[in-house]
């Protein structure tokens, strides 16, 4: 049952006891594509990633990776995957270098090859100076970088990254993005989860938004924005702890209104126009900002427990 996709999952279900964390999702990812999973905490992203990494077994449904079945060819599939899990799970007692050495050994790489790649990977993750330090003594962000380096040790065909940049400073984040672009150009397939919408917009050709174990939207970032949001957004803040009281006042100015704890979002076609109307109606917000819609707005619209609609 070869599908032509490098990875294909059908009706994927993951249950933990009575709780259904993933409720029958379908994904098909092409070779060389970079594919994103977005969703709020507990949406089922990590559960899904672990299944498509051939690590955990689906409760129901089928997965095909490289045309192989993880239930039969798990080791062979994982040999060709790179995984950056959400939790680092590094060897705290070992040095940075030995962490990479051991990880390479799990893939049966010869020590000489591991040494070469270690030098290169430590340079990329800017950990060369810390090569001989015990991992326990690294900062959180450094550990994260080491986990990323580790995931690249076996030169994977598919790289699966679960919130790779959480805990990274902006510079390290951009370094990783650069590296991911490069890998993509080299033909590596990327599968990413993230809570950073800018990251998703930058990195993903295509993404799905998950909520409560289901896929609620799928498409290219731009297409999703066009479909689920307006062209522009007006952000208003008032000097109050309770923005909800303003909700009714604004429905007439916008296609859609979202009330967040600290601000109100007006979804409109022309932001400046809308803001002028607001001012004309004698409403004086403490601050106002007009911006273009982003994935953030799609995310909010699809998964936010908003008061609108």
């Amino acid at each position: 049952m070869t599908s032509g996709h490098i990875l294909e999952a059908r009706n994927l279900v993951k249950r933990f006891g009575d709780f259904e964390a993933v409720k029958g999702i379908d994904v098909a990812i092409d070779r060389g594509e970079s594919f994103g999973f977005l969703g709020p905490n507990g949406a089922g992203k990590t559960s899904t990633m672990r299944m498509i990494s051939a690590i955990s077994q689906p409760t129901d449904g089928t997965i095909e990776i490289f045309g192989l079945d993880p239930r039969v060819d798990g080791p062979e599939i994982r040999r060709r995957l790179g995984v950056v899990p959400q939790e680092d799970s590094l060897e705290l007692e070992l040095s940075v270098k030995n962490n990479l050495l051991m990880y390479g050994r799990y893939f049966d790489l010869p020590r000489r090859v591991i040494r070469e790649r270690t030098t290169e990977l430590l340079e990329f993750t800017q950990l060369s100076e810390r090569a001989n330090d015990k991992v326990d003594n690294l900062s959180g962000g450094m550990k994260r970088r080491l986990t990323i380096a580790r995931g690249l040790m076996n030169r994977p065909e598919i790289l699966i990254l679960d919130e790779p940049t959480t805990g990274l400073d902006p510079q390290a984040r951009h370094l990783l993005w650069d590296r991911l672009y490069r890998l993509k150009r080299e033909g590596v397939t990327l599968i990413i989860t993230t809570h950073y919408m800018d990251e998703a917009e930058q990195l993903c050709d295509r993404l799905v938004v998950m909520d409560q174990g289901k896929i609620v939207a799928e498409g290219a970032p731009r297409a999703l924005i066009e479909r689920f949001s307006t062209r522009e957004v007006v952000e208003l803040r008032f000097a109050t702890d309770d923005h909800e009281q303003y909700f009714n006042q604004f429905t007439k100015f916008a296609d859609r209104v979202e009330v967040l704890p600290d601000r109100i979002l007006l979804y409109v076609n022309d932001g400046d126009d809308a803001l002028r109307d607001v001012h004309a109606a004698g409403i004086a917000p403490a601050s106002a900002l007009v911006r273009r819609s982003s994935l953030e707005d799609v995310f909010l619209h699809l998964t936010g427990r908003s008061l609108t609609d």
């Binding site: 995957l81 060897e91 030995n98 050994r105 799990y106 049966d108």
Partner: protein, 262 residues
């Protein structure tokens, strides 16, 4: 409905777990040395001290010194203790506290490889410790027969049984408090398994219970080798240990699977 074609036991890949442990313990060689010397000190003190206090024993019409009697028991006990520490304490930490194994599961290794790898690691150490113990036994004159050499595979079999059993036990441990429970079981096993005196001294019913103790079976097996007294029942004893090993490893593998990839 989705039954995974997980192999019954680990594969050749389990050697990587061995490699990992060797790398981690390289910096902790002092701990490795203590594993060497502890049983040897016991042997030395018993051979030199107790031999003088306790006169020759007569069992089944044979007479021999107390040290000759107790040395194989000590070997069995140290094989048990070493295996239990290696397979309960450390794997528990890796399984539930440091979550070391999680990273291994993203590599070609299978859960069964991890379980088998931990057992192999325990066996490598057991092999070295047993060898040094048996050499000392011979040097101190506590062995009566050249067949004492068979104590070596015998002790390794003992370690195999206890490390597999221990690994299965380790998966049921919820917190550090549960280790007290393990000690509570291990203590009487240690004291009543015919390691210090023959179980023929116990009432019949107690002897019958004790014969289920793998430590007793191991001690009896090793004693047979060191005295050069062979008996068909020794095949039963060895088989009993082997069955414990295989059942233990099987249970441990399944439990690892359940815990690591729920």
């Amino acid at each position: 409905m989705l039954t995974r074609a997980l192999p019954l036991f680990g594969s050749r890949r389990s050697v990587r777990v061995l490699e990992r442990n060797a790398l981690v313990y390289r910096s902790q060689w002092l701990m490795l040395l203590s594993g060497f010397f502890e049983p040897l000190f016991y042997l030395l003190s018993l051979s030199i001290g107790l031999n003088k206090l306790v006169g020759p024993l007569h069992i089944d019409g044979h007479a021999f010194s107390y040290a000759t009697f107790v040395a194989p028991g000590m070997l069995a006990t140290s094989a048990m203790n070493g295996a239990m520490i290696d397979s309960i304490f450390n794997p528990f930490f890796r399984l539930k506290i440091s979550r070391t194994y999680d990273a291994l599961l993203a590599t070609p290794l299978e859960v069964t490889d991890i379980a088998l790898g931990e057992v192999l690691w325990a066996l490598v150490r057991a092999t070295l410790y047993a060898a040094s113990f048996i050499i000392c036994m011979a040097l101190l004159g506590d062995a009566r027969s050249p067949w004492v050499i068979l104590c070596w595979p015998g002790a390794i079999l003992t370690s195999f049984a206890f490390s597999c059993f221990g690994l299965a036990v380790c998966t049921y441990i919820r917190s550090w408090q549960d280790f007290d429970l393990v000690a509570l079981v291990q203590m009487p096993l240690f004291l009543f398994s015919g390691t210090f005196f023959p179980i023929t001294l116990y009432p019949r019913w107690l002897g019958a219970i004790i014969s289920f103790s793998p430590l007793y079976q191991s001690a009896a097996l090793l004693r047979g080798f060191s005295l050069g007294q062979f008996d068909w029942i020794m095949i039963m004893r060895a088989s009993y240990l082997l069955v414990i090993a295989l059942v233990g490893l099987y249970v441990a593998s399944r439990r690892f699977q359940k815990i690591l990839t729920p």
